[in-house]
Symmetry: C2
Subunit: 337 residues, 2 copies
């Protein structure tokens, strides 16, 4: 499937979804829309992902594109009206539009009409299914090995770590599944449930349903974690994933140098304390142990310093660790398989 990625004025550093799709999705990305970087290429900005031209608008994208993906998410998940011509252009040519915004494109009157008129699909990935229920607490019944990522904070690399573990497992011939719980993961995988948008009572149940389905067909299930158990706003999402997934193993994700909660006036507890925090939180529901760590070293200048940071992190948590992007996920995968 050929896709274009909308990332106006934010590519690449504030376009987490766009970069995730470029790195991990099976889609063939034919263009990135960023009016501030018109005329450059993806490879001018991000190494090691598929390349594509950066263009100013949807009208610069070849006709055979199948879908436009909104690859950025402003705080609050609002729709920026400056994107309207691009979405309109896509729909008018029958091109589907996928979005992870809180603002649902399917409920925008103009977009809904254009989509119907031109046979295009509007997929609001952040809209959970209507038929969710409470968790039964029965994930233990699946034979699959369930691995969930957990983190010290938001945006430390849980989706990336999960995706890298999943892909590496598949490459080694393991029968692995990826359970997507957030918009980027869902856009990459093509399915999943945005747990942060599920009503609290059903959040663990939604995770349980996905893990049961994936576990019925696969030997290894990698569950994308969200937020953090110490987050002042989102710890409920984390709790629902850890208890809903009833994991066998946890992988602790952290970003080198992160010492406070992003966007909040709150210090993070020492990284080593998170092993016991997550294990004792999970304990009454699932006997899960932190079997490895993933350190995001994007802010560390060179590989040598990054290796040192990873070694320190491994020491702190008392488990093997790696940077899944810089060095690959094999050290941790080795413990899981």
């Amino acid at each position: 499937m050929k896709v274009a990625l909308l990332a106006h004025e934010k590519f690449p550093d504030r376009a987490k979804t766009a970069v995730g799709v470029l790195r991990y999705a099976d889609y063939d990305v034919v263009a990135v829309l960023d009016r501030n970087n018109d005329g450059t290429r993806v490879s001018d900005h991000v190494p090691d992902v598929q390349d594509a031209p950066v263009v100013a608008s949807m009208s610069d994208v070849p006709d055979d594109v199948d879908a436009l993906i909104v690859g950025i998410s402003p705080i609050g998940g609002a729709f920026d009206e400056s994107w309207r011509p691009d979405v309109r252009n896509a729909l008018e040519r029958g091109c589907d539009v996928f979005s992870g915004l809180h603002y649902f494109l399917g409920e925008d009157e103009e977009f809904a009409e254009l989509a119907a008129e031109h046979g295009a699909e509007l997929w609001d990935v952040r809209k959970p299914p209507e038929d969710l229920g409470v968790a039964d607490g029965v994930v233990d019944s699946v034979d699959a090995t369930v691995v969930a990522t957990v983190g010290t904070d938001c945006s430390v690399g849980k989706m990336t770590a999960t995706r890298e573990l999943y892909e590496a497992a598949r490459e080694e011939g393991l029968d692995a599944a990826f359970v997507a719980t957030g918009q980027t993961g869902i856009l990459i995988e093509g399915e999943g449930i945005p747990i942060d948008r599920v009503v609290s009572d059903f959040a663990a149940g939604a995770v349980e349903r996905m893990v049961l389905e994936a576990g019925a067909d696969h030997d290894y299930v990698f569950v994308e974690g969200q937020a953090s158990i110490v987050h002042p706003a989102y710890s409920g999402v984390t709790a629902s994933i850890v208890h809903g997934a009833q994991p066998d193993h946890l992988v602790l994700c952290h970003e080198a140098g992160r010492d406070s909660v992003h966007g909040y006036d709150q210090q993070l507890p020492p990284v080593e304390s998170f092993v016991d925090r997550y294990e004792s939180f999970a304990g009454p529901v699932a006997d899960a142990d932190v079997i490895g760590g993933m350190l995001n070293t994007r802010g560390v200048a060179d590989d040598e310093a990054a290796r040192e940071a990873v070694a320190d992190f491994a020491d702190a948590i008392g488990a093997p660790a790696d940077d899944p992007v810089r060095f690959g996920p094999d050290t941790v995968l080795e413990v899981i398989r």
Copy 2:
């Protein structure tokens, strides 16, 4: 305000909301609807609450009733069609109907039409407001002393303990507020937000908003807890309340003899472990300590055995404890004030 309580076939033991309203609400209860107990009185079933006749249907209720409250909540929160004539009768005489069901009466075509026609209000207390947002993590900024109840499981008496503490505080002349987070608490208080129905991302934010509002006007804020940090389905709700409220103090609620999660095949950890569980969970967000315990001894035969159970519970958690219904909440209130 004069109210009738619908509790067909469930009064009193499986009518938690009806009994809560009888015990704590300012409403004048003029009748309880229970077709299985027609002709009896509330005092035949429940001591120490306001008395009222038990009748078979809404047509037996005096004309001057202001509201019918659905005082039972079947598993799943469905509407039982056998109640339809009662709700219809209420609306046709212009009597408001309040409900904590998952099934929203306001979205029932017949009820919505009858309410509009007769000027009656349909209040679905389980429907959260539309304008919620993420928590800012700023409850620390209020001067009020914030006390949240937490529990070892669902239905151990958190709402009751919170309400008893709040009422005892008011009786002592303290300027106290009650923050309702579930349907029974909301029906009693007349306002609040059902946190279990709020999307996960905004659950802590909804609690924070209520605590900030209450804390601006009062010296003590008593926050009704929900579920339990070890619950396989609802721990996300608990997490959002503990972090959203940023409490100064926690009161641990438990039911004597409860040793497994109600409705689940899961043992509860030792009750003494909950002190550290809740304090270390709250810790990174709020420096909250478990300053007391509330033991529900409804299953304990006599007062002497109940006193022993309370003493054992206090020993286990290393803090003063009481049964707020059997013996009153003063032992714990003493520590808070």
